[in-house]
C-alpha cells in the first residue's frame, strides 16, 4: 500500500481548500489533520457540499409556509402536504460537470442521485423531469453530448421504472463547453411514514447497504466545484458509474425497512460518499459514530481509508438501525440480493472515529464539517456586469423590417428551441406506472394519484436569455412561467425546487447575477405562495470561452384537486372560439425571433407584473373549474405565432387549424413574435361564449377575441397561410433530421 503523503498547506490547496480554511481546520483539531481527514474536509467544504458561497443568499428565499412539511435544507428533499394523509417530495439537482466529460454516465448517475434523495425520505418516486442545455446543434461535439445525455437519462430511468414525464431542452452557444444537465424527481409518501436523515441513540448500529464501494467518483464533489478546462478530460475517472438495476432493488428494500419502522435514520450516498453521510447524519442528531471501514464491502483490492471515505460509488445508503432490528433489516436486504453490513455504531460523544485495518484513521467533529455547522460561509463581492449597458441600449426600432414574414415565421418555428423534442422524449419511458395522464410535449405533465381524484402537475422552466439580460426579472419570469404552466393544466402551484446554474462565484459580475436572480426568485415565490422546498447550486459553469448564461432552473409541482380539472394546451373541436387573455407590450428583448432571424441576443427581458400574473392564474382556474374553456396554452418563446401553431398541432392524432386576426400595434413582426408575459391562448365552445365573456368583463380582465378553430391551416390576418401538414413536418421532424435518425 502506498505511503500516505504528509499533509501541508500546499497539499490542502491542491485539495481545493484555502489557507484560511486550512488554518481553521488545524485550530479546531488542535493539530494538523492527517491525510484521510484532509480528504474528508476537502470534500465537505467543497462548494458542492457546503454551499459556502451561496447559503447566505439562499436563506433570503421563502423556505417555509404554504403546505411545506419540512423546511428547505433540513432533509434530502422538500416535502409538501397534499391532503388525504399524503405528501409530495421533490427536488432538482445538477450533474453538469460529469456530463460535460462523460455524457452517458454523467446524466445517468444524475438521475440515480436525485431518485435516491426522494426514496431515502420514504417516498416512492412517481415521476422524473429534467432540464437540459447544450451548445449549437451545428457542432458535432454538441450532437455527441445530446445523444449521450439523452441515452443516459433514458437508460437509467427506463430501467429504474419511473416515467420521465416532462422537461426542457435548449440550445445556445453559451453552453458549448459546459452543458447543463439538471434532473428532478417527484415522489409520494404517507405523512406518517416519512424517514429522516438523522442519527442518534448510543449503541444503535450503523449499516451500509446497497452496492459495494469502489474507486469510482473519488473527488467528484471537488471536481464539480471548479471550472471546466482542457484538463477536465483527465477527470473522467471522477465520474461515477450508474447501475439502475441495483438502484431499483435498493428502492424496494429501503421502502420496506422504512415501512416496517426498523430505523432511526437513513441518508443516501451521493457526493462525498461515506464522509458526507456519516458527518451530516451525526451532526443532525447531535451525536457521533464509531466506524470501522474494514467492514465496508469493497469491489477493489488495496483501497485506502482515504479512498473509501471519498468514494462516490453509486446506489449506496447509510442506515442507522434501531438496536434489535439488525436481523430483520438484513433479511430484507438479502431478499433483494443486496449488501448489508454493520460498519459501526452511534455514540453520544459528538465525534466521528474512523478506523481501518486496526488503525485510527480519522478523529473529527461532525458539526464542524457540515453546512449550518462549522463549514465556512462567505459573502462574495458583486458588481453589475458591463455587458448590460450594451444590451440594454439596443433599440428594437433599428431592426430592419423582414421582407417575407412567412419565411421569418418558418425560420422561428424551425428553431431547435421551438420544435417538438419528440426525438428526445420518445427515448424515455413516459408511461410506466400507468399514472401519466398528460405526458411530454404539453405545457406541464400531469400524473394522477391512484386511489384518489387528485393529480399532480409538474414542470421545469427557465429562459436563461432573459436572465442574462436582466437577472432579477428573468428569475421572476422563470417562476411565473412554471406557475402559468401548472395553472394552464388545471393545477394550483404548491412549491418550487431550484437548480441554480451559474459561473464562478469569485467573479464579482457572476455573483451579481446570482444575487439579482435570487432576489427576483424570492419576490415571485412570495407572490405565488410557492416556497422553495430545496434544490441545488451549481457554480463554476464556465468553459475556457466564457461563463454560461445564468440559468436558475425552476422545478414546480402543483396540485390538481379533481381529475375533471385536467386541461391540455391543444384545440379540441372545430369551430371553437379562440381568445387571448392578457396584453401585448411588443417586447422582443431576448426573444427567439431576435436570435434566429436577426442573430442577436439583446435588449431587456420582458417585464413581469406579479399582480397581473397572479390575477391571470386566478381567472384561469375559475374558467377551468367552471368548464368554460376547452384548452389553455401560454405564450412563451416564439411569441403568439408559435403558441397558436402549437395549439393546432400538439395533438397529432387530431390536428385542428385556426383562422385568426392578431392585432398589430406598430409592426407585424413585433406583434407576432413579442414574448410579453402573462398571456394565455384559450379556446371556448360557442355555447360557452356568453358566460366566458360575462366573467371576463365582470373581472375587467384584459382579453381579446382572436378567431375560430377549424380547417387544415393556420391563417393569420388574411395574409399568412400556414398549412398544417407543413407545420407538422417542421415541428415533429426537425430535431430527428438534425440528430440523424
Amino acid at each position: 500500500m502506498l505511503k500516505e503523503p504528509e499533509v501541508t498547506l500546499q497539499l490542502a490547496i491542491e485539495h481545493g481548500l484555502t489557507e484560511d480554511e486550512f488554518n481553521n481546520i488545524c485550530e479546531k483539531l488542535g493539530r494538523i489533520p492527517n491525510f484521510t481527514e484532509l480528504g474528508i474536509y476537502s470534500v465537505m467544504w467543497s462548494e458542492h457540499c457546503s454551499y459556502k458561497n451561496s447559503i447566505a443568499l439562499l436563506k433570503t428565499l421563502p423556505r417555509k409556509g404554504g403546505k411545506l412539511l419540512v423546511k428547505a435544507g433540513e432533509e434530502n428533499a422538500g416535502l409538501v402536504d397534499i391532503g388525504d394523509g399524503m405528501a409530495v417530495a421533490f427536488k432538482i439537482e445538477s450533474h453538469n460537470h460529469p456530463s460535460a466529460v462523460e455524457p452517458y454516465q454523467g446524466a445517468a448517475t444524475g438521475v440515480g442521485g436525485i431518485m435516491r434523495d426522494i426514496f431515502t425520505m420514504g417516498a416512492r418516486p412517481i415521476a422524473s423531469l429534467n432540464s437540459l442545455r447544450f451548445g449549437s446543434l451545428k457542432d458535432a461535439r454538441t450532437r455527441f453530448l445530446v445523444d449521450g445525455v439523452v441515452r443516459g437519462i433514458g437508460d437509467y430511468g427506463n430501467s429504474f421504472g419511473v416515467p420521465t414525464v416532462a422537461g426542457e431542452v435548449y440550445f445556445d452557444e453559451c453552453y458549448h463547453g459546459n452543458p447543463l444537465v439538471n434532473a428532478m424527481s417527484v415522489g409520494l409518501v404517507k405523512t406518517d411514514s416519512v424517514a429522516s436523515a438523522t442519527s442518534k441513540g448510543a449503541g444503535n448500529p450503523v449499516m451500509i447497504v446497497g452496492s459495494s464501494t469502489g474507486r469510482d467518483g473519488i473527488h467528484g464533489a471537488t471536481f464539480a466545484s471548479e471550472e471546466i478546462s482542457a484538463k477536465s478530460e483527465a477527470k473522467r475517472p471522477s465520474v461515477q458509474v450508474g447501475d439502475p438495476f441495483t438502484e431499483k432493488l435498493l428502492l424496494e428494500a429501503t421502502l420496506e425497512i422504512i415501512k416496517e419502522n426498523l430505523i432511526i435514520g437513513i441518508q443516501d450516498m451521493g457526493a462525498a460518499g461515506i464522509s458526507c453521510s456519516t458527518t451530516e447524519m451525526s451532526a443532525k442528531g447531535k451525536s457521533g459514530m464509531k466506524i470501522d471501514l474494514s467492514k465496508v464491502p469493497l469491489r477493489e483490492d488495496g483501497m485506502t481509508a482515504y479512498e473509501i471515505m471519498l468514494s462516490e460509488s453509486q446506489e449506496r445508503m447509510l442506515v442507522v438501525v434501531k438496536k434489535g432490528n439488525e436481523d430483520r433489516v438484513k433479511e430484507i436486504f438479502e431478499k433483494w440480493d443486496l449488501h448489508c453490513e454493520i460498519i459501526g455504531e452511534v455514540i453520544d460523544e459528538p465525534k466521528l472515529y474512523i478506523d481501518y485495518e486496526g488503525k485510527r484513521k480519522a478523529e473529527i467533529f461532525p458539526h464542524h464539517l457540515v453546512l449550518g455547522g462549522g463549514a465556512p460561509v462567505y459573502r462574495r463581492e458583486f458588481k453589475k456586469p458591463t455587458y448590460l449597458k450594451k444590451t440594454k441600449s439596443f433599440k428594437m426600432t433599428s431592426l430592419p423590417e423582414v421582407e417575407n414574414i412567412e419565411e421569418a415565421i418558418y425560420k422561428v418555428l424551425s428553431s431547435p428551441n421551438i420544435v417538438s423534442k419528440r426525438w428526445v422524449y420518445e427515448q424515455y419511458d413516459s408511461m410506466v406506472r400507468t399514472n401519466t395522464v398528460v405526458g411530454p410535449g404539453c405545457d406541464a405533465a400531469v400524473v394522477f394519484i391512484k386511489g384518489t381524484q387528485k393529480a399532480l402537475a409538474m414542470k421545469t422552466d427557465c429562459n436563461s436569455r432573459y436572465v442574462y439580460l436582466n437577472p432579477r426579472e428573468g428569475a421572476k419570469i422563470a417562476v411565473a412561467e412554471s406557475a402559468r404552466n401548472i395553472v394552464c393544466s388545471g393545477g394550483v402551484p404548491l412549491g418550487i425546487t431550484n437548480c441554480l446554474n451559474f459561473g464562478n462565484p469569485y467573479k464579482p459580475e457572476i455573483f451579481w447575477q446570482f444575487r439579482e436572480a435570487i432576489a427576483g426568485m424570492g419576490e415571485a415565490c412570495r407572490a405565488f405562495e410557492t416556497p422553495v422546498t430545496g434544490g441545488n447550486v451549481s457554480f463554476y459553469n464556465e468553459s475556457p470561452d466564457a461563463a454560461v448564461y445564468p440559468t436558475p432552473v425552476i422545478g414546480m409541482v402543483g396540485l390538481i384537486e379533481n381529475l375533471s380539472h385536467i386541461t391540455t394546451s391543444y384545440f379540441k373541436n372545430e369551430k371553437d372560439l379562440i381568445f387571448i387573455l392578457g396584453e401585448d407590450f411588443e417586447e422582443l428583448g431576448g426573444s427567439e425571433y431576435l436570435k434566429v432571424v436577426h442573430e442577436t441576443v439583446a435588449g431587456d427581458s420582458p417585464q413581469l407584473n406579479l399582480d397581473t400574473e397572479k390575477q391571470l392564474h386566478e381567472r384561469l382556474l375559475f374558467l377551468i373549474r367552471n368548464k368554460l374553456i376547452q384548452s389553455a396554452h401560454d405564450i412563451s418563446e416564439g411569441g403568439i405565432v408559435s403558441a397558436l401553431v402549437e395549439c393546432s398541432i400538439l395533438n397529432r392524432k387530431k390536428m385542428i387549424g385556426a383562422k385568426v386576426i392578431i392585432p398589430v400595434k406598430t409592426r407585424s413582426d413585433f406583434s407576432l413574435f413579442s414574448e410579453s408575459q402573462s398571456r394565455v391562448i384559450v379556446s371556448v365552445k360557442k355555447s360557452d361564449r356568453a358566460a366566458f365573456e360575462y366573467y371576463m368583463l365582470r373581472q375587467k380582465a384584459p382579453y381579446r377575441f382572436l378567431g375560430m378553430t377549424g380547417g387544415k391551416q393556420v391563417k393569420i390576418n388574411d395574409e399568412i397561410t400556414l398549412p398544417l401538414s407543413k407545420l407538422e413536418n417542421i415541428y415533429y421532424n426537425t430535431l430527428s433530421q438534425i440528430m440523424g435518425s
Binding site: 441515452r151 433514458g154 437508460d155 427506463n158 430501467s159 429504474f160 421504472g161 447501475d243 439502475p244 438495476f245 441495483t246 431499483k248 432493488l249 433483494w336 440480493d337 422524449y425 420518445e426 427515448q427 424515455y428 419511458d429 413516459s430 408511461m431 410506466v432 406506472r433 400507468t434 401519466t436 395522464v437 394522477f448 391512484k450 381529475l563 392524432k653 435518425s741
Partner: protein, 231 residues
Amino acid sequence: MKVKFGIVVFPGSNCDHDAYFSVKHILGYEAEFLWHKDHSIKNSDVIILPGGFSYGDYLRSGAIAKLSPLMQEVINFAEGGGIVIGICNGFQILTESGLLPGVLLKNESLKFVCKDVYLKVINANSAFTNLLNKEILNIPIAHGEGNYFADEKTLEELNKNNQIVFKYSDNVGNLNSESNPNGSVDNIAGIINKRGNILGMMPHPERVCNPILGNTDGTSIFRSVVNSFLK
C-alpha cells in the same frame, strides 16, 4: 369459474404493479404476485410475465430470467397448456426460454422508443383476442429490444398456423416501414405458439386499461383470456 392471474416479479420487473392494478382493480379479476425465487405458481390460471429489465438485462434481455427457479415452473405450466402472456420483457423471456420462436433484437434505430402505436389484429380467434371488437388497436410500446426476427422457415410456419396475432400498422391498418417502430420482420408485434396458449407481445396492453388515461384498448385482451376459460 373464477380466473386467477399470477404476475411474476423478477428483480428489475417494473410493469408488474401496472399489470396487477389493471387486471385486479380495473378489470376486477383475481390476481397475485409470484416471486422469482419461489417454486410455485400458486394455482394461477393465467401467468403474466410483465415488462421491465429482469435482473438488469445487462447481458441480453431475458437471458438470466429464463434460469430463475420460478421460470422453471412457468415453463412446465406452459408446456402443459397453461395460458401465459409475456409483455415486452416478458416476450423477450419467452423467446429466450424457447417457448416462442424467433428472437428480439435491438431496435433498428438502436434507441429505446416509447410511444403510442397502432396494431392491426391479424388473428382475432385466439385465446387472447376472441373478444376484440376492433381491427386496429392503439397501444403504446416502450422498449430498446423489440425488433422481432425469425428466419423464413419459421415465418412460414407462423403464417401457416395463424400464429401472428398483431402487426404494427398505421391508424387505418396499412402495414409499411413508416408504421414499423423498431424494424420487426413483417411488422410483427405479437405472436402465439402453435398450440395457442402462449402470447408474446412487445406493446403494453396493461398501460391502456384505465379510462382516466383516455384509452382502454388493452382491456379486451385480458377479457378475451378470461372468456376463453368460459367457453
